[in-house]
Amino acid sequence: VCIHRVRSCSSIRFIKSKYVCVFDKSALKFSHQQRLFRTSAVSCGQIVQFKLSDIGEGITEVTVKEWYIKEGDSVSQFDSICEVQSDKASVTITSRYDGVIRKLHYSIDDIAFVGKPLVDIEIDASKGVASEEDVVETPPMSHEEHTHQEIKGHKTLATPAVRRLAMENNIKLSEVVGTGKDNRILKEDILNYLAKQTGAILPPSPKAEIIPPLRKTETVPAAPRDKAQKIPVPVSRPIVFSGKDKTEPVTGFQKAMVKTMSAALKIPHFGYCDEIDLTQLVQLREELKPVAELRGVKLSFMPFFIKAASLGLLQYPVLNASLDENCQNVTYKASHNIGVAMDTEQGLIVPNVKNVQVCSVFDIAVELNRLQSLGSAGQLGTSDLTGGTFTLSNIGTIGGTYAKPVILPPEVAIGALGKIQVLPRFNGKGEVFKAQIMNVSWSADHRVIDGATMARFSNLWKSYLENPASMLLDLK
């Protein structure tokens, strides 16, 4: 009963509406209202109530589940208007008319009735009012070419009149560049396409509804032109780019990154870079890879880099420290929880390997495998992502040589590893040999770390990697 009353109110409102003008082409009569609802040269159109058509199977009512349009949107015939549901069937309701949506009669989760108005559409006056009967279906052949419609509600590329024109001239709509709103194909676009094909300059259509950006040639009388007309002259038009800027709010994880990076900015960074000869390490890894595989683990270079870093941190513990908020106390962390930057769909996440100081290279490899598979499945836990004390970023797997990494608070240092390149170098005897070279770029917090400390740490790390056997001496 309640719903019924609301509906009759809305129909009364409709009669009183100022939108309804006399359908008269000659006299552009607007009522005394301030706002204009059309910006084109066409006079106000007629409001038509688009009723919910028969769903079939004797169904009389449905639930409105989603609107694809809102009041004020323009629609073309066959555009999706809304999604309704009835008894396990989801139905897409499409528009019967071209026009502008003026009123939605239901909200989400309302019950809509078959035969009652669903939306009010204001129809283009020049097009006239479509009949109340069901739309005659277009011939099957044209379906995919001319009806680029997806259920979720993207607009068609061309109005029926334009489609007809294309069909009459055997033009494939997919080959025509649309210059209208949302890349819609306009009559002018068809005509221009035809002009290109035939090499003639066609006169513009006499009753153009939309003014094209540039009009040329129709009023050129001068004699020199006559010669030119024998050679096909391409119709030049300025390239109309109809792309739009897209603004999205910064949410969730991105928002948190904004906060972290802003805090990182407060840290006075200094950088230190060097070149590492990994020739021996590459060989060692080749030998150990099959051994690890037998144990079911993928062995990359990272476990070596991480273990070498931990050995270095034992000598230079200030790099594994944290400065408190007021810069009054430095906390030297006992655990080496070394973070490994990972690139995922979401962006940069940094899980860490806990207690590297008591892990073997193989242990680290196992843990890395675990973190990597969880990371790609989007299932890393909070403990995996917190408690890091030092970070390595292997950006080289994507590319690059030198970088300028940003320290992740509350840490005080970070290293970025470039890609491994084969480069010519001189050996001790002055001969040129093929070397596997990788670049490292460190950044450190200059409030607690000085350049000399960073350099010495880097040299130690470098010596472990250039001569992997030396790691054996200091392994714990």
């Binding site: 139905v91 419609q149 949410t251 994880f253 805090a263 509350p410």
Partner: protein
């Protein structure tokens, strides 16, 4: 999966000759196709493709498909309400949202899917279901199967062996249904039980039912036999050859645009973002030190994102600045455990480095993540 022999050359040449409309079949009246893929997203994409691109005026289509383990929810349903998302993630079972209405189902290779494509005018679910029952009875006359007025098929008058859903567009429509041959009922019942409490939503709810596999009734039945029997009955009723055409849902030449459709079905925006607005009102019981804290949580989720978030913590349990930072970050963020985990762990970096604070923060956040 053994299929009847294909007249490969013949239908291939048919495709090459007429690349777009009216391809595939040399027979008119009807076409039976079967998917080689067990990927639920690819198979749903094929349904979309046929619905959008094929002319069904001259020939109707029957599409046969099976999926590796997946939970499929209806167009307007709420995945948190319908299934145990945590369990799905653990067991690597996929979640899919189809475009038709109706309730949630569990698919695995022991369940077969049948889609009947017709023009909008010829949409008729009862007839399709009666066809299936006829095929089953022809195969095994002693089977007690019948169609209910809710468009279910019941075995022995009590067990549901088939559920139905439909999608209607402007000119075409499809009705698809499942058929339980030999599905894993243990996994089925565990994944379709939602652990999430305090959910309030207008999403279409599922109606739970007792299910049984046809295999349990008659162990000599296999999925292949059932598919074949149904195809045979369809062929008879449409007066066409009993011939099943095999298609590969990854074939972009045959089905142009299919890979985009497949991708779209896997996006977060489709799977979770299409959930109708819902609210959560629940209580977290957090054991901290010697006591247990009862924390009231209220959240509104729209388009899969947290619109409003209220956490009723005891005063000063967390520094107020930190609490408001948490709420501000959660607002607008996806209602997703992964997103929330990365969000809260990143935020922790800019908190004071205090062990007690960190453990409180972790406790609260872990509990919040369990809600998702």
């Amino acid at each position: 999966m053994v299929l009847p022999s294909l007249k490969n050359c013949l239908w291939l040449s048919c495709i090459l000759r007429t690349p777009k409309a009216c391809f595939w079949s040399t027979a008119s009246g009807g076409l039976i196709i079967q998917s080689v893929s067990n990927d639920v997203y690819q198979n749903l994409a094929v349904e979309d493709w046929i619905h959008d691109h094929m002319d069904l005026e001259k020939q109707q289509v029957l599409f046969l498909w099976r999926n590796s383990p997946a939970v499929v929810i209806g167009r307007h349903q709420n995945p948190w309400q319908e299934c145990n998302l945590r369990l799905l993630r653990q067991k690597n079972i996929k979640l899919a949202r189809r475009r038709s209405g109706g309730g949630t189902v569990y698919h695995d290779l022991g369940n077969i899917n049948l889609t009947f494509f017709t023009t909008r005018k010829k949409y008729e679910r009862m007839e399709n279901l009666k066809l299936i029952v006829k095929a089953l009875k022809a195969l095994r006359p002693q089977l007690d199967v019948h169609v209910t007025d809710r468009y279910d098929i019941l075995l022995d008058r009590q067990y549901k062996i088939s559920g139905t859903a439909a999608k209607l567009g402007r000119t075409s429509a499809y009705h698809h249904c499942t058929l339980l041959c030999n599905a894993d009922k243990v996994v089925l019942s565990s994944v379709l039980k939602s652990p999430y409490k305090g959910l309030k939503s207008n999403a279409t709810p599922s109606v739970p039912a007792s299910v049984k596999n046809l295999f349990e009734e008659d162990p000599s039945l296999t999925s292949e036999m059932l598919l074949d029997a149904i195809a045979k009955e369809y062929a008879t009723q449409h007066q066409i050859d009993h011939h099943i055409t095999v298609i590969n849902p990854a074939d972009e030449t045959l089905l142009p645009g299919i890979s985009n459709k497949t991708k779209e079905l896997q996006t977060w925006e489709w799977l979770y973002g299409k959930t109708p607005k819902f609210s959560i009102s629940t209580c977290l019981n957090m054991a901290y030190k010697d006591s247990v804290l009862d924390v009231r949580v209220n959240m509104d989720v729209k388009h899969g994102r947290i619109e409003v978030c209220n956490i009723d913590l005891p005063e000063q349990w967390l520094p107020p600045g930190l609490y408001s930072e948490l709420v501000k970050s959660l607002t607008g963020s996806k209602f997703c455990p992964n997103e929330t985990t990365t969000l809260v762990t990143t935020l922790l970096r800019v908190c004071p480095q205090d062990d007690e604070l960190h453990s409180k923060w972790s406790l609260l956040c872990e509990n919040m993540i369990m809600l998702m």
